[in-house]
């Protein structure tokens, strides 16, 4: 059962990620990205990260992607007429293919050495909440300041005339 979910969600994730990059229309890219994020939530559940999976759906696929869709529909863009020059496209593919090959090599190398089946990890709301307010308290507070700065920055950018 786990391997079926692993392969199904994983292949779906890769296909949807490819669609994000390939699709001509930004709207289709955004919808494919939502599907990819949902596929990733399935992988999170397989890895005992139930709370993170819920947040992935609620915050990422919900809030952030709504922001994207809102902007895309507000701008009402035409699909891309042309891509970048051929050498940039080729260079990007070579770079990406090289990255895949290198990382696959390193991962397979690591897999041969260790066959750890993983350990139970408590991904419940309670445990993560305690962790956030003890071990990661400073980072937690710093993130709240960062979000405040981002909100102020977005509002300033949104002003018609900077005052």
């Amino acid at each position: 059962m786990e391997s079926v979910m692993f392969w199904g969600a994983g292949i779906g994730l890769v296909i949807m990620s490819l669609l994000v990059v390939i699709a001509r229309s930004p709207l289709r890219s955004a919808l494919a990205l939502i599907a990819a994020l949902c596929m990733q939530a399935v992988l999170y559940i397989l890895l005992d990260a139930s709370f993170v999976a819920a947040m992935q759906i609620l915050v990422y696929a919900g809030a952030i992607m709504v922001l994207f869709l809102f902007v895309i529909m507000l701008l009402n863009l035409r699909p891309d007429a042309q891509r970048r020059p051929a050498y940039v496209a080729l260079g990007g593919k070579v770079l990406g293919g090289g990255a895949v090959a290198y990382m696959a090599y390193r991962i397979l190398q690591g897999l041969v050495g260790s066959r750890g089946v993983g350990q139970a990890v408590d991904g419940s709301v309670k445990h993560i909440g305690v962790l956030l307010l003890t071990d990661y308290l400073f980072a937690f507070e710093a993130i709240s300041v960062l979000l405040l700065v981002a909100v102020v920055g977005a509002v300033v950018f949104g002003m018609r005339k900077l005052t």
Partner: protein, 106 residues
């Protein structure tokens, strides 16, 4: 292939693939919105690796880090989209190749 035991490290393969796809998208695409979405893909690939390692070592710290990454992704999306909107308002385009106001002339 389908009946082999799935260990947490196998999830790194998906993570690597998605990261590479996002990197290629960030290089190849010209639309600023798709560019930001490619960056989101790369952030998500990193998140998947964090969760896989959390399972591998039985420590939920990776889950906490994923929350911080999500918060940073939200901040990045908010500011990035505000910039895209501002650029579109003055130039009527979101094509990153046409934004060359800061480019050196030589």
């Amino acid at each position: 292939m389908m009946d082999m035991a799935i260990v947490p490290m196998h999830y790194l393969i998906w993570s690597a693939l998605v990261f590479a796809i996002g990197a290629v998208g960030a290089i190849v695409r010209r639309n600023a919105l798709v560019l930001i979405m490619s960056i989101e893909l790369m952030l998500n690939a990193a998140n998947l690796a964090f969760i896989a390692f959390a399972k591998q070592y039985g420590h939920a710290g990776g889950h906490a880090i994923v929350f911080f990454v999500m918060a940073i992704a939200a901040a990045e999306a908010a500011v990035g989209l505000a910039i895209v909107l501002g650029v579109f308002r003055t130039r009527q385009t979101v094509d990153v190749d046409e934004l060359d106001a800061l480019r050196d002339e030589t």
